[in-house]
């Protein structure tokens, strides 16, 4: 039995895919232990042919699923369906792994049976060259935690990320995990929805994942958030629904609530800090605000108390951010460095 199934969601990543696959397949001693499921999500570039080259060379390790475009969530759903490894994790195709430690991590996995395995990661801000190393400050290495008795409050903001988390495949299946398809930001679903099925967790001293920030078309930049705000709302609403059904006695409910408040803050930020310039935007956020107030009163109050700008906006019917954003947009237009540098184009003659 393979110890780890790795899903590599692949969509138009011809520039990045080789780097990712080379790092995963670097050490031949672990090839028998891992299963690499490359899920081509209807790429229009050379991603599939690159993947096929690897499938041919590493036929015992690499499997390709070639499917129509269905979004990030659909690739994980498809990968999970055929995964045979004891553990399961996702490595995005524009990211890569630390080649010096990856085989050690695979060897270590063989010694464990916990439901969640956590490891560290580096976030690389490519254009500035900055590297941020992420570690779980409150967890001890190699200690097995019982999640039924675990105080999730100690995690603070260091919750589970796709870049840090390896799940036991069997438990993922038990949780009936099915991520929203054709939707962005489903990584939060991946991290939260299986949590009720998970009983044990261990934190290993390996820094494995290299999270690459700075691709212009990445879904985490603010323009993408604005463009895909309805996707964000869909994910938030699904997780709110999930939260509603967790008994308050369950220690995991605190964890889910903490993350939800973060997510709700992000959602209000999309409107209040970047988007709120037209009446339609105001209507959208007012409707969401009403929905939250009517259905999740407790969360609503917590959110207002933790993030004051939301309270000010609610009190002024979102006029506060609307006026602020309009002033800022005017200043931006006047001072916009890029526009100024571009100058007037050649006259048509």
């Amino acid at each position: 039995m393979k110890i780890l199934s790795i899903v590599v969601p692949t969509y138009n990543v011809e520039k990045y895919l080789e780097r990712c696959l080379n790092s995963l397949l670097y050490n031949e001693n672990i090839l028998k232990d891992i299963e690499l499921i490359i899920v081509n999500d209807g790429s229009k570039d050379k991603s599939l042919s690159i993947a096929k080259k690897y499938e041919k060379k590493y036929s015992e390790t690499v499997i390709i699923i070639d499917k129509e475009n269905g979004g990030h969530g659909s690739t994980i759903n498809a990968g999970l369906k055929i995964a045979t490894g004891k553990y399961f994790r996702v490595i995005d195709s524009d990211d890569w792994v630390n080649i010096d430690d990856f085989y050690l991590y695979i060897d270590e996995l063989k010694k464990h049976d916990e439901d969640i395995i956590l490891t560290d990661y580096n976030k690389e801000l490519l254009y500035s060259g900055e590297i941020n190393e992420f570690k779980y400050k409150s967890l001890e290495y190699n200690k097995t935690y019982n999640l039924n008795k675990f105080n999730f409050k100690i995690l603070d903001q260091d919750y589970f990320f796709m870049a840090t988390t390896t799940f036991k495949t069997e438990k993922l299946r038990k949780s009936n995990l099915f991520l929203d398809e054709k939707t962005f930001y489903v990584d939060m679903e991946f991290i939260l929805l299986p949590i009720l099925q998970m009983d044990t967790m261990v934190y290993l001293n390996f820094n494995i994942y290299r999270y690459f920030i700075g691709r212009p078309d990445q879904s985490i930049n603010i323009q993408s958030y604005v463009r895909n705000r309805m996707h964000h709302e869909k994910v938030v609403k699904r997780l709110l629904e999930f939260y509603r059904n967790i008994p308050r006695k369950n220690s995991r409910s605190i964890y889910v609530k903490t993350i939800l408040i973060q997510l709700l803050n992000s959602h209000y930020s999309i409107y209040c800090k970047a988007k709120l310039t037209s009446q339609n935007d105001v209507k959208e956020i007012k409707e969401f605000d009403k929905y939250l107030k009517n259905n999740y009163c407790e969360l609503y109050e917590n959110l207002r108390n933790e993030h004051r700008y939301i309270k000010w906006n609610q009190k002024t019917f979102f006029l506060f951010s609307q006026i602020f954003n309009n002033i800022m947009s005017r200043i931006a237009n006047k001072f916009d460095y890029i526009k100024m540098n571009r100058g007037e184009k050649v006259e048509k003659n």
């Binding site: 080379n22 890569w96 200043i331 460095y337 890029i338 540098n341 100058g343 184009k345 003659n349």
Partner: protein
Amino acid sequence: MKRTKGLVISWYFPPINSSEGLCTFKLLKNSKFTYDVYTQKNNKDWSYDTDETKLVSKNIKTIFSSSFDTNSWVKEGISKLNDKIDDYDFIMSRSMAPESHEIALELKRKNPNILWVASFGDPIANNPYEKFWYHDSPYTVKGKGVIEQSLRYVLSPKRVLKNLIWQYRNKTYKRKFTRFYKDKKLQDSVLNECDIIIFNNKYQMKYMLEGYPEKIIKKGIILPHGYDKSFYENKRKSISKDKFKISYLGHLDKIRTPRNFLCALERLKAKKRDLYNMLEIEIYGNMDDEDKVYIVDSNICDIVKFKKPVKYFDSLSIMQNSDLLLLIDANLGLYIPDNIFYAAKLADYIGSGSNILGITMLGGASSDIIREIGGVVSSHSTEDIYNNLVMILEKKIELHTLDKYNKYDIITISNNFDKIILDKVQNTCGGKNE
């Protein structure tokens, strides 16, 4: 039948060895036309040595200016060349320096029927590479980021005052804007009034023509830099099997910096000493002092040798006799999504037949070409460079042989150039040479 004759205006041209001049020389040498090249040999900035003997061709005659600076070169050029303009079927101006286009612009205005080809190495205006050198005021309200700044900060009289003082005191800021408007005006005039615009890659073309009317966009063609097979020695010298030689040839500075490559070597020394000991790294050219100090500080000077610039033909020989050639581009991701620069040295690298490791932006001209010819592309991330080095040294990445690759052979490129020019000359001048 009279042979087509072109007038080429280029500040850099052999015998002065410089990337710009050599690119133009290779193109003209392999073209079927004859050329007069207006240039100079007094100012050797941005060049490495001169070569009076090898870089000559029967179809090229040089007209040297007596000037030492670009301003007098322009004045002399306009008066000298305008009298002879009827001898030519077309003129071609080549930047850098952009002043060559100023001469051609003036000649075109005086002789509207002459075909004018404007060839660009780099953009004249709004060059992303130069944005690094000209810093903005730290107190300015930053364009697109303005929304992220607080209203209190934006409206603060203290900030406004500090900004004004900074701008008043800072000469580079003033120079930036004075120069920007001058360059922008020139670039607009050149693109508007020339007949053919040559770019060396599609990203440069897109960047420079973005926002211009269709009439101008249609003038754009892509003619990549090429290598000249006849410049290389016939055989490689035997390369040591115990050592793996990596060479970098060319200019490095604070922007086009080898720092992350050096960090990767440092990491290699710490993690995989056996691989590190295999390496022999030679860097020829210029380098920022801080990077030189870094080589010493990080204790990698046992394998990294920094050497003075060498003559062009010697550089080709070094390229041929290296296991791996290193290309380092500036990381301009803050300014442009894709790299718009295709360094002339990359064409010479390709011609040498050696394998190439490109440390460059993952999207753009260099990375496309290196992937196309079977080389390895690394981002500017230290760890990515380290991973690639390890995999190359352990032979876990397949490097292709480049011998059969002829898309970047200058003969192919010159033939295309000839076809384009001939077609245009015949159309615009009614085939006066046929």
